[in-house]
């Protein structure tokens, strides 16, 4: 009969020790909103679950000189209630708050959404678009990893045995910088992105875009940073030509599969649509700041 152990360490070293010392599969649990479902469905059968929520500082949001620190296990509900973060990164907040239901929001975390490594994760494109950095701790110490380098394939991350994410750092937003996230789902909520798109833009005083990041989700094995999409936006005030170029760039960046959630053709076309619509919201927000 398979056995499952559960531990809730109260310090980073203890957590690392447990994870690194596990003989079989060990899973890090933040909110558990993906992990528990996978356990029940039999998709994963770990030997050990390490619940990180008792580690001091891993739940909560701090505003610092250089920006924001979001604890890895901070729930979506707390993120949605943080006025400073909502003002600075409305795209990240709206993306995070789209995950699951109101009940799920009470538990679901950024680290969990990222490390579940689904191409369709909602918060991930938004965090990448705003150049979020994950602080990874493990047996070999601490390292800072741009969030786009965490997921390597569906269900796989670049984290080594014994490593887990402690927190996320977001830079202090510049003047006229803002972000947005949109996803396409066949319903209005309680669903998984068929296409997700995060866009961050910075404008000059005249409303011309001077910096941009465009990130797509659910259209390739991992989230895709659309460099050509950013180029299409930089130097523009989001005119028709820029939107058309962005649409084309987004479509070109897709590498989706046909599956029950959408065809290749549909995903590619909708990626262009979502990129345009998300960029328009990000521009409007940045202009208003």
């Amino acid at each position: 009969m398979p056995r499952l152990s559960y531990a809730a360490p109260t310090s980073v070293p203890d957590a690392i020790k447990l994870l690194a010392g596990a003989a079989g599969l060990a899973k890090v649990m933040s909110g558990g909103t993906d992990l528990l479902v996978q356990l029940r469905s039999g998709r994963t059968s770990p030997e050990l679950i390490v619940d990180t929520k008792k580690i001091p500082g891993i739940v909560g949001i701090r505003e610092t000189e250089s920006g924001f620190v979001i604890g890895a296990a901070t729930s979506g509900a707390e993120i949605g209630e943080h006025a400073g973060l909502c003002a600075a990164y409305p795209g990240i907040v709206e993306a995070t708050n789209l995950i699951g239901s109101t009940q799920v929001q009470g538990r679901a975390s950024l680290a969990g959404n990222l490390c579940n490594a689904s191409p369709a994760a909602d918060s991930v494109p938004a965090v990448i678009a705003s150049r979020g950095v994950a602080i990874v701790v493990g047996p070999n110490g601490q390292r800072s990893v741009p969030v786009e380098q965490i997921v390597t394939a569906p269900g796989r991350t670049s984290l080594a045995k014994g490593e887990f994410i402690l927190e996320f750092h977001l830079p202090k937003p510049k003047a006229h910088q803002s972000d947005a996230y949109l996803r396409f789902i066949p319903r209005t909520e309680m669903d998984i992105a068929v296409v997700g798109c995060g866009v961050s833009v910075t404008l000059d005083d005249n409303g011309v875009c001077i910096d941009a990041r465009v990130v797509l989700g659910a259209v390739a094995p991992t989230q895709v940073v659309v460099e050509a999409g950013a180029k299409a936006l930089i130097g523009s005030k989001l005119d028709e030509a820029a939107l058309a170029a962005l649409d084309a760039a987004a479509r070109a960046a897709c590498n989706p599969i046909n599956d029950k959630r959408g065809t290749i053709d549909f995903r590619v076309k909708v990626a262009g649509v979502m990129a345009r619509r998300t960029a328009a919201i990000a521009f409007e927000r940045a202009g208003a700041r």
């Binding site: 009969m1 398979p2 469905s41 396409f184 066949p186 319903r187 209005t188 909520e189 309680m190 669903d191 998984i192 068929v194 029950k260 959630r261 959408g262 065809t263 053709d265 549909f266 076309k269 909708v270 649509v273």
Partner: protein, 758 residues
Amino acid sequence: MNFVANKSDLKVVGTRPVRPDGMDKVTGKAQFGADLTLAGTLVGKIKRSPHAHARIVAIDTSKALAIPGVKSVITAADIPDIPSEEAFVGEGPTNFRDQSLNCIARDKVLYEGHAVAAVAATSSAIADAALAAIEVTYEVLPHVIDVEAAMAEDAPILFEGMITQGVDPKPTKASNIVKKVAFGHGDWQAGMAEADVVVEGKYDTAAVHQAYIEPHACIASVNPDGQTTIFASSQGQFMIRQYTAKILGMDIADIRVTPAEIGGGFGGKTIVYIEPLAVAMSRQAGRPVKIVMTRDEVFRASGPTSGGTIEVKIGAKKDGTITGAYAMVKLQAGAFPGSPVAPACMCAFAMYDLKNVMAEGYDVVSNRAKVAAYRAPGAPISTFAVESVMDELAIKLGMDPIDLRMKNAAKQGTKASYGPVFPVIGFEEVLEAAKAHPHWTAPLGPNQGRGVATGFWFNIGGESSASVFVNEDGSVSVVSGSPDIGGSRASMAMMAAEVLGIPYEKVRPIIGDTAQIGITGVTGGSRVTFATGMATTQAAERAVDELKKRAAMIWDISPDAVDWKDGEAVPAGANAGGFDPLPLAAIALKAAKTGGPINAEVSINAQGAGAAFGAHIADVEVDPETGFVKILRYTAVQDVGRAIHPSYVEGQIQGGATQGIGWALNEEYIYDKNGRMDNAGFLDYRVPVASDLPMIEAVLVEVPNPRHPFGVRGVGEVPIIPPMAAIGNAIKAATGMRLVSLPMSPPKVRAAFDAAKG
């Protein structure tokens, strides 16, 4: 006694009291199928086929049986190999042998998820280990999923002996076509020749699941002497008793089935899947066995309703008069015969008064889960096509779509397309109410469109039993045999209170188990408020007669000289004597002295169900870039006969419309190339969520059914019939595009836009 009371005379019927089961449900005390556990209960689980079609070469259960804690392992070898025998137990004709083979496969598995073995163990983990330890050797066979592919000459055959019935000459070769049906009158081809305009189209629909929130669940306990108790969630405790007895070769009297609260059924809980297995294992283990299906099992192995293809052709004169109508309906039955192709054909054109009409259909088996009844079985499928073609006809004729329907509407005296002549019906009243509703003329914005569609359902009567017990304090207990899936307990109490002339709160309704009340058919077909309501009303009338007799005894006058008024016995007139009224409670208190307890039980086979019609208006907004269809406004007009409890009638209409909207927009069974279902969960089988829908406005039209004491027609089925066409017609109005394939999901709508652009 047949009467349809004037609405103004009614004191309880037509009001909206609190439901008697409400407190249990909102406090979580209600006992659903999985909620009962007896001492020593074992966990029962089912081993299912991973293949869509395969021969079972061997099943080795020895390793599973050797696991400590495993108390029973069964296969088809442990239950009788019963002969083919027609059954009419649930909501449609079926066959006891098919039901047995669907519960557990014998020689072949016919769909992915088909049960091949079952285990009972002391824990869930041990049961899982036992399932994994059962070794099944399969010889995998070619499979076929779609209906037209299953009808093809070279299709893999599910049943070697299946010769299509209903075709002349009788075929000599086996096929997957179970039977052909045909309904109609006149000469439809001559009707087409008379037409100024002919519109035709081919439509298809996907298999969709009833998606009740509560999975199938039961607990069974067998004594060494064979006496068996079952507690289960279903639409009919007598249905479970009959199937279980037949499948296991038991005496019906040895089985007592107690109905659990039911967390939705919609027709899907009118056949058995797990109860015979639980009983067989309890018999082996000598302990109670509980089986609770997972959602995955519910999707893969319990009945969805059919998908199919429907070809429709309608011809009309320039003034809109329909001269001829034809439909060809091909429905998936799943792995065993029994798609709702007959009602699909019967309902297709029943809204209209037609001289020349024909609907033909094929019942076709394929390697899918056996279909089960789902709200107005078959009608939504054929009606989607017919009402889409009617919309095209209205466009072609330049006519208002409600006017076109009014021009051809069935009315009292119309010979229905499926045979009988309609008595009093309310279709014209429904169309008038739809046209007069402010929704029909409200303004629309860009990318928005409005559609209308109608639907018909017979409603049914059938066997029902009810008892009325007058308690010694004047309160009243009502027992019926009908599981309550739509608020029927409240309706039974209300009808009894109305007849007895006492407040609703003085009447407590319960649902009896199979040993407490007479045989009662399943809750389905929109029959309970009509048929069980009729039994309840008659039982209450008999109680009133008895109460009058007792009053006569107390007063020492003839029973004929006693009237019953507002819950009291009163002298019928001045000649009867000058007695003070005797309230029900006063008579009840003296019951022992006047002859004993005052009770009445009535068992009937109710006749005279009233057909019902609905018309739905849907407004949609279509996103041309993503294909997303948003429902902006939705109005459902329906002839309900008489609403006993209007809130539950509205709830039925809103629920039916919601399921129809899901059917229209997103719900579908998706299979991979191996014939395995790819979306067996609520994440990728998308029922509508609350935020997908506007408030659905239910408009109750009341054209009473003269055959029911209060005019009830039955309301549960009609509202699921019009939504698919109403939404398709609205999309057409918004975009100019005719979607012919369900679901009208975003990828399909976007592809239609792309195709239209060329």
